[in-house]
Symmetry: C2
Subunit: 82 residues, 2 copies
C-alpha cells in the first residue's frame, strides 16, 4: 500500500482531516478512508486533485498509484487456479 500510506502521511503532516480531503474530492468520508487504506482505488482525476490538495507533484503520487495497481494485478495471479 504505497499510495494510501503516502497520502495518509502527507495529510497528517498537514494536519488535515479525512473530512476535508473527502470534501475536496467530492466524495464522503468513508470512501476517502477506504482509499487511504487501499481498500478502494482512487481514480485518476482524484490522484490529480489529491496532489493539489497535498501540494506535491502529481507525478510522484501517480507513480505510487500505478505501482499499487501493478502489484495488485500480480497479486491476483495467486488466485489463478481457484
Amino acid at each position: 500500500m504505497l499510495f494510501g500510506d503516502k497520502i495518509k502521511e502527507l495529510r497528517e503532516n498537514r494536519r488535515l482531516l479525512q473530512r476535508q480531503m473527502a470534501m475536496s474530492l467530492g466524495i464522503n468520508v468513508p470512501m476517502y478512508s477506504r482509499i487511504e487504506r487501499g481498500e478502494r482505488r482512487a481514480k485518476r482525476e482524484q490522484v490529480i486533485i489529491l496532489s493539489q490538495i497535498l501540494d506535491v507533484e502529481t507525478e510522484d503520487l501517480r507513480c505510487l498509484w500505478l505501482a499499487d495497481k501493478v502489484v495488485s494485478v500480480i497479486h491476483e495471479e495467486s488466485d489463478f487456479g481457484r
Copy 2:
C-alpha cells in the same frame, strides 16, 4: 500482445480452427477471435483450458497472460490526464 500471438501461433501449428477453440472454451467464434487478437482478455479458467487444448504448460500461458495484463495497466497510464 504476447498472449494472443502465442495462442494463435500454437493453434495454427496444430491446424486447429477458431471454431474448435471457441467450442472448447464454451464461447462463440467472434469472442475467441477477439481474445486471440487481444481485443478481449481471456479469463483465468480459459487460460487453463487453452493450455490443455494446445498442450502446453499452464504456467507458460499464464505468464504471457499476466504480462499482457501488466502492460495494459502501465499503458493506460498515458491516458492519465484525459
